[in-house]
């Protein structure tokens, strides 16, 4: 690596200093503190008692936590499995050489990613409204025999969340796929076509391997993001929803830590989530070994 050696001694410390100070106080210290907290029970930020591994034991036997975990997994899996193929398909359409106005389409598809989840939740609370919401009115018009009042936010909470997430993130992920597709070597595709490969073969044997590192990165990114779902159901349902149908892991953390006031239990939930996400990252690294992720 090409590093400067002819600088005054203080220079690197001056530049890295502000980051290191703030990082040490507001990231490194809390990280250790969260480990300490996860072995304590607290009543608000002031009083805490050491309880050993009780938090984790309680968590393992806490049905609400398992509900939250299941909901979060279902949401993440559905989002990744439905959204990412859509993103890739959209990117491939947009990448066709004859398409004009690519920048405008890209801008339109990307625009939902700019809107904060709280604001999206407010808009979608109306779209999903049972009696006169946009989605039900539309579906009633298109599908004959569609029920008069389809209870999205009362019963079909997960499908509603997934629909909203598709609207939010499909365009955002498409940006990555499009950038990757534009980097695919055109000569390689032409060579394959010369050798008599058809469209499908070109896709499976040339395009897909070429965008594999980016695909891995996008899958990981959206899985990690989905696992941290909180605001959407929280605002959309005004809480966990009927029968905890919209309860997620981060929501459960929030409720325990900041409504009940047990920062210890919240930290235990936080560590469970962190370990899950690190596991997912590790698996992704193993799977895409050989191709560079970034």
């Amino acid at each position: 690596m090409n590093l400067s050696a002819s600088h005054p001694r203080w220079a690197p410390y001056f530049f890295i200093g502000p980051f290191v100070v703030v990082f040490a106080i507001f990231v490194v210290y809390p990280l250790f503190q969260s480990l300490v907290l996860s072995f304590q029970q607290t009543y608000g930020p002031q009083t805490s008692v050491f309880v050993g591994t009780k938090n984790f034991a309680d968590l393992a036997g806490d049905p609400a936590f398992w509900t939250a975990l299941r909901n979060t997994f279902v949401y993440a899996a559905a989002s990744v499995l439905i959204q990412l193929p859509l993103s890739l398909g959209l990117a491939m359409l947009l990448n066709r050489p004859q398409v004009k106005g690519r920048a405008v389409f890209r801008l339109v598809y990307f625009s939902p990613a700019l809107v904060g989840i709280v604001f999206i939740a407010v808009i979608f609370s109306l779209i999903f409204q049972e009696t006169r919401g946009l989605l039900n009115v539309f579906l009633k018009g298109v599908i004959p025999g569609f029920p008069q009042e389809f209870p999205w936010l009362q019963v079909y909470v997960m499908p509603a969340l997934v629909i909203a997430s598709i609207w939010m993130y499909t365009g955002f992920n498409m940006i990555y796929f499009l950038a990757a597709l534009q980097n695919v070597d055109r000569d390689q595709i032409e060579a394959a076509v010369m050798d008599g490969a058809n469209r499908r073969q070109v896709f499976w044997h040339v395009t897909l391997p070429a965008i594999r590192p980016v695909a891995g990165f996008v899958i990981l990114l959206s899985a990690i993001g989905s696992m941290q779902l909180f605001e959407l159901p929280w605002i959309l349902l005004g809480g966990a929803g009927p029968e905890d149908r919209g309860l997620t892991v981060v929501m459960y953390l929030f409720m325990n830590g900041f409504q009940i006031g047990d920062l210890g239990y919240a930290s235990a939930i936080g560590w469970s989530l962190a370990i899950l996400l690190m596991g997912m990252t590790w698996i992704q690294r193993r799977l895409t070994k050989g191709g560079e992720g970034r």
């Binding site: 690596m1 090409n2 590093l3 400067s4 600088h7 530049f15 502000p18 980051f19 703030v22 990082f23 106080i25 507001f26 990231v27 210290y29 990280l31 503190q33 969260s34 907290l37 959209l90 359409l93 004859q98 398409v99 389409f105 801008l107 339109v108 625009s111 939902p112 700019l114 809107v115 904060g116 989840i117 709280v118 604001f119 407010v122 808009i123 109306l126 946009l134 009115v137 609207w167 940006i175 990555y176 950038a179 990757a180 076509v193 469209r199 941290q228 605001e231 605002i235 005004g238 981060v250 953390l253 929030f254 830590g257 900041f258 920062l263 930290s267 936080g270 989530l273 962190a274 970034r294």
Partner: protein
């Protein structure tokens, strides 16, 4: 089946491609249209038609049902301070994005371009910190802010957000590639000080990254809900995201008011993005795709 594309079939494919692209574009834009129309409808006609209120005016629209009343109500209602929230959001998002970008660029510069004792260790720490999920730090940070006495203050809101490991990593990568050591050496020989080198030689070389990261962090703060919701208790301090959530709890049936508030909340970031979109998208993908 080989790829035989006659002029006829090629035309059909083009039509299909555009058809699908436009279909998805419409689906993307419908909620925005719904939001804009909703914000302009008065209470009594809100459900007379999904977009514009139906009636017997021109084109079958009840134009008289459209109003700016909702926007006015946002600002005159004595029960909440919407104007104050706009100022709060602007302040919170600007200060945290400028500081986060400055500290990230400086940190990335030190790690990318200087030989010093802690370089390896700090680079490793920054990389390791990338996988810490945000929610894990909520509880201990809350406790820390309580002990420091800065709960319910902008210091508590902003300080934890201005040392993003992600930013240092991005700037380090960008500077490894696009800041030549010879340029720094030449500036030093010309008698240019280290701080001036950073601001007038190095930063201009990574200008796209500066723009992109400013925008990413501005958006992140503007749209952040969970942290201000935890830190702030006084409604006068609430940024827009928290205010809108509050509004939805209290005025859950005043749809026009809610839509107007949401529209006003998302317009500034939309405008900002339109101005900076080229830099933003190139910066966004530079971490994932080798360019």
């Amino acid at each position: 089946m080989a790829m035989v594309e006659t002029a006829e079939s090629r035309r059909w494919i083009t039509v299909m491609v555009y058809g699908l692209l436009i279909f998805f574009a419409i689906i993307t834009l419908v909620p925005f249209a719904y939001l804009i129309c909703g914000a302009m409808k008065s209470k009594d006609v809100f459900f007379d038609g999904q977009f514009l209120p139906g009636g017997d005016g021109f084109l079958g629209v009840n134009w008289g049902g459209l109003t700016f009343e909702n926007f006015r109500n946002l600002f005159v209602n004595p029960n909440f301070s919407f104007a104050r929230s706009i100022v709060n959001s602007l302040f919170y998002a600007s200060v945290s994005s400028v500081l986060a970008t400055l500290f990230s660029a400086m940190g990335g510069y030190a790690l990318a371009k200087f030989r010093f004792r802690w370089n390896g260790l700090l680079t490793g720490l920054v990389l390791a910190a990338l996988i810490i999920p945000g929610p894990l730090l909520l509880a201990p940070l809350y406790q820390l802010l309580f002990r420091m006495g800065i709960l319910n203050s902008y210091a508590g809101l902003i300080l934890p957000a201005i040392a993003p490991a992600f930013g240092v990593f991005l700037f380090r990568q960008a500077m490894l590639k696009s800041v030549p050591l010879e340029l720094m050496e030449a500036a030093r020989i010309d008698g240019c000080g280290e701080i001036r080198i950073f601001f007038s030689v190095v930063l201009p070389l990574v200008r796209p990254m500066v723009g992109a990261f400013l925008l990413i962090t501005f958006l992140g703060a503007w749209n952040n809900f969970i942290w201000p919701q935890i830190v702030l208790q006084t409604p006068e301090l609430f940024p827009l995201a928290v205010s809108i959530a509050q509004l939805k709890g209290i005025y859950s049936t005043d749809y026009g008011l809610l839509m107007a508030g949401t529209l006003v909340s998302i317009l500034p970031v939309m405008a900002l993005f339109l101005m900076l979109q080229r830099e933003f998208i190139s910066g966004l993908t530079s971490g994932a795709v080798k360019g």
